[in-house]
Every structure is written in structure tokens, then in C-alpha cells.
Subunit: 280 residues, 2 copies
């Protein structure tokens, strides 16, 4: 049986721009219909694509430690370019600036996304996970969301809700913004830094839960801190992650979201924050 | 009586680089001895300085919404340049890339700090503060930290500890990383976005509290989300802010910190996150 690539690997495919050396960090990619959101790609896949450019850059030092992605404008379906530049390399950390561009209506390149990343060589030290994984039912004991919920990218994930599920009635009766669910790529796929990045953005907008009202929203900026190294991701393999997300403030058109991602063994793999526009 | 400028205003002073137009966003500044940390400036003042370049850029749209600052290398005492570029302006948000440079040992410019910012026009909408200010004693009922604690910048702040104070004994006996204190500029100064940015970084390293052990540390990346508009900052004036900070994970050389800043009226003004290097 022929083995077709995983949709995530298809979406993350970047090739060096023609007539540029790999070290120039210029890549070309293509939006993927499988990760389409309402008016552009799922933000998590855009963030993962920017990190992918860092991962395949020949001068990379170490593993991802921090990534901040600013969504400046929606991508349209089609090709895009990514620029990844290591702007300073130290002994154990390396700083990156990243950008994504697409041809605008007039054909001129237009910035859609800007980002920064830090990669680092990690050494074994004292450590502790103070934010413990909450006590929740096992994935096998919880039903998965059915496919076909309305946006294509959601079908690329297997999500098993625990609490704070998307409201069944949009009746304005929300009381909190805490969501917990098990999640993984669908079909299952071994975890890596890019997949983890996208998973950090799988949570639906906190304001929908908080208000039980479906107002227009859009992430403005997301930051992911990676607490796991490659070995811990490999141990996690294609297993479920427990995701938790909550908002702290909703005010005058913007709310924040804090999120934590643990593997099933209870190791915190990533924490993430975002600030999100909402209307009304 | 002559009125000398506040040290914060001195530290944040930027002038357009010679023979560049204001719209070019190239500024020159100077490190300030009053905000010196152990091997470079206090990280909060560097972050505030980068935001200051945005604030005085003639093309700025709206107020700060998000700022991410990556500390790529320590600054030495002396002059630096800041570059602030609005890379995309939409109807209500504007995206910025920022960098700070200093002459290296060979005289060539060297990047010390990279950053991104988002500014936004905010409109009145539904809102709620879900992360409530904890119930704490009033500033007047708490003694302030004495001056001369060892790093110069700390004397530029009035800090009235509530809980999670810096350990009195470095005996390895730490149990948590939660700190709360009242704080403001010293001398008192009306709050603005730059001052708020610096205040988001006033917390001492979480790992020192968690371990009651003073290991070498350094912030790698900080993000500040601004939830207040200019009017709310003006209402706060020179008043105290309640600051709260806590770490979630400490692992293999890096820990995270989440922080919240409220004014005395209980309004959440900013939330912040950082990832910090630690040794051992």
C-alpha cells in the first residue's frame, strides 16, 4: 500500500526559493485547503509554517524555545514566501526574525505575518512542573467531536472535550472561559515542534464560551513557549495532549488567552498566550 | 525650584538619528546608570525604550496592544540605536518590527534586542475582568523595600511586598513561585504605556523564590499585552499597581513567568509572560 504524506506534512512543505542558497532562509510554500479556517488558513498552521522555516534552516542552533507570531493580514489561498533570518547566535541561544509574504492585489509582495523565534541548546538542570495536569478522564472514556463542524481545519484534529465545550446554545448565558480537551492530529502523527505549535492554537475563541455568543474574532498575536526537548516529544509520539485554555480579560475589542499543553504522562510540553480581536 | 526630569523620562529619551527623517524610525539613545542591573540595563527599561520608539513614531496608529521583546545580547553602558518600522497598517491595527543595536567590539553594529509590537485603535465593547485582583492589604499598610538592595534599577521603584518576597535565607527551601506586591516608579510618576511596560518586568526571578537559591538568570523573551487604554492609564496616574507573578514550569535551563498588573481600583491594566534562562 502506498503511504501518502500526512496533511500536516503537506501543509508544512517549504522549498528554498529559486536561485537562493539554503542559508539565505528564503522559502516558498502554499496554503493547504485541509487547514482552511473561515477567511484564511487556521492560525496554528501559519505559526507552524513559520517555525518550519527555522527547523529546516541550515544554520539553526538547538531546539525551539519561544515563538511569537503576529497576524498582520489574512492569507489568501495560494503560494506564499517565508523569510527566516538568524539575527544573532550566542553560545546556547539563537534569535530569529521571520516573515511571511504574499502577492497583494497589485502583484507586489505584501507582509501577511511577522514573527520572532528563539532556539536554544538545553542542558539538564534542576526542574519542577508547578502547574500540574488537572485530574481528568482518559481520552478513551470521552467521545470525540464529530467531523464536519463547519471549518475544514477542525477535521484535521481529533478533539475529545472534557469541559468548556463550544456552547450548544448561543443564548448569551456564558459564565467562564475555561476549556479542557484531549487532542491530537487526525490522523494521528508523531509529535514534533511544528505540530505542537499548531496544537497550541486549536482552542476556539474564549469570547464565544464566555458570552455564549458567536462574535467575529481573529488572533492578533500568539506566543508559544516550548518546555519540552526533542526527546520528550518523541516519547509523546502520536499520543493525546491535554489542552487547557482560559481568558483573563475581555475589554474594548481584545481578549487574552493563556493555554497549557501536557502529554498524557503529565509532562508540560508547552505554554501559550494570545491576544485576540473581537467585535461588539 | 527647577524641576529636573524623572529618571524614567531621562532613560527613555530618544532622538531621531542624524540625517534621517522622523518617519524613518531610526532613533539614538543612551543607557542610563539609574536603571543598571548586574551586567546590563534592567530588561524592563530596554523593553520600555523599544516601545518608546513606537510611541514617538509619526506614523503610529492607536495605542499599544502587544509587545514582544527578545533579549539577544547584553547592552554595554553607552549609546545605542533603535529602529522602529511599521510593517503593516490595517484599519484598526498596526504591526511593528523593532530592533536595538550597539557597536560591537570591532565597531560594527551588533543587534542586542529584537522585538515586535502591535498598536490598535480600540472601540468600546462588552467586556469583563475574569482574573480578579486578589484581596490584599492597602499599600499604606505595608512597608516599602529599603533602598540599596544591590542593583541600581531596584531603587527606581517603590515596592511594597505582600507575599512571595525575595528569600531571606538562600537555603534551598522554596516551595512556590507566587509573588504579590504593590509597586510604582520612584519618585512617583504618572503611568503611561512605557512605564507600564517596565513595571511588567519588575518581578525578581521566579527560580530564586522557588528554590530559595540564587542561580544566574536572564530573561530571553518577554511579552506584554496591554488591556488598558490611555484614559485608564491617566486615571491611574501616579498610583500604585498591584503586581502578581508566578512560574508554571522550570525545566532544563528555562522557566516561564506569568504576571498580572492591576491598578488600585482593581482594573487589569496589563498581563505579561516571559521565558527566562537559569543555570544549574
Amino acid at each position: 500500500m502506498a503511504c501518502s504524506p500526512h496533511p500536516l506534512d503537506e501543509a508544512l512543505r517549504l522549498r528554498p526559493a529559486p536561485s537562493s542558497s539554503p542559508a539565505a532562509g528564503r522559502y516558498e510554500g502554499q496554503t493547504h485547503a485541509g487547514y482552511w479556517n473561515m477567511v484564511g488558513p487556521f492560525g496554528g498552521i501559519t505559526a507552524a509554517t513559520l517555525l518550519q522555516a527555522v527547523m529546516q534552516h541550515p544554520d539553526r542552533l538547538g531546539d525551539p524555545l519561544a515563538l511569537t507570531v503576529n497576524y498582520a493580514g489574512a492569507l489568501v489561498a495560494g503560494p506564499f514566501t517565508v523569510q527566516a533570518l538568524p539575527v544573532r547566535s550566542n553560545r546556547s541561544t539563537q534569535h530569529w526574525t521571520l516573515s511571511m509574504q504574499q502577492a497583494g492585489a497589485d502583484g507586489a509582495p505584501m507582509l501577511t505575518t511577522s514573527a520572532t523565534a528563539v532556539t536554544a541548546l538545553r542542558r539538564q538542570t534542576w526542574g519542577v512542573d508547578d502547574m500540574r495536569m488537572p485530574d481528568v478522564p482518559a481520552p478513551a472514556d470521552l467521545p470525540a467531536l464529530p467531523p464536519g463542524l463547519g471549518v475544514e481545519w477542525l477535521d484535521r484534529y481529533e478533539i475529545r472535550p472534557i469541559c468548556g465545550t463550544i456552547p450548544e446554545r448561543w443564548d448569551g448565558g456564558g459564565e467562564h472561559s475555561l476549556t479542557r480537551f484531549w487532542m491530537r492530529d487526525a490522523p494521528a502523527r508523531p509529535l514534533d515542534f511544528c505540530a505542537l505549535t499548531a496544537l497550541a492554537d486549536v482552542f476556539f475563541p474564549r469570547v464565544w464560551l464566555r458570552r455564549a455568543r458567536r462574535v467575529p474574532v481573529g488572533t492578533v498575536s500568539i506566543t508559544v513557549y516550548f518546555h519540552a526537548d526533542g526527546a520528550q516529544l518523541q516519547e509523546t509520539g502520536p499520543g493525546y495532549l491535554l489542552g487547557q485554555a482560559c481568558g483573563q480579560v475581555f475589554r474594548n475589542g481584545f481578549f487574552d488567552q493563556s493555554a497549557q499543553l501536557w502529554n498524557a504522562a503529565g509532562h508540560m510540553l508547552a505554554t501559550s498566550h494570545q491576544i485576540v480581536y473581537y467585535k461588539e
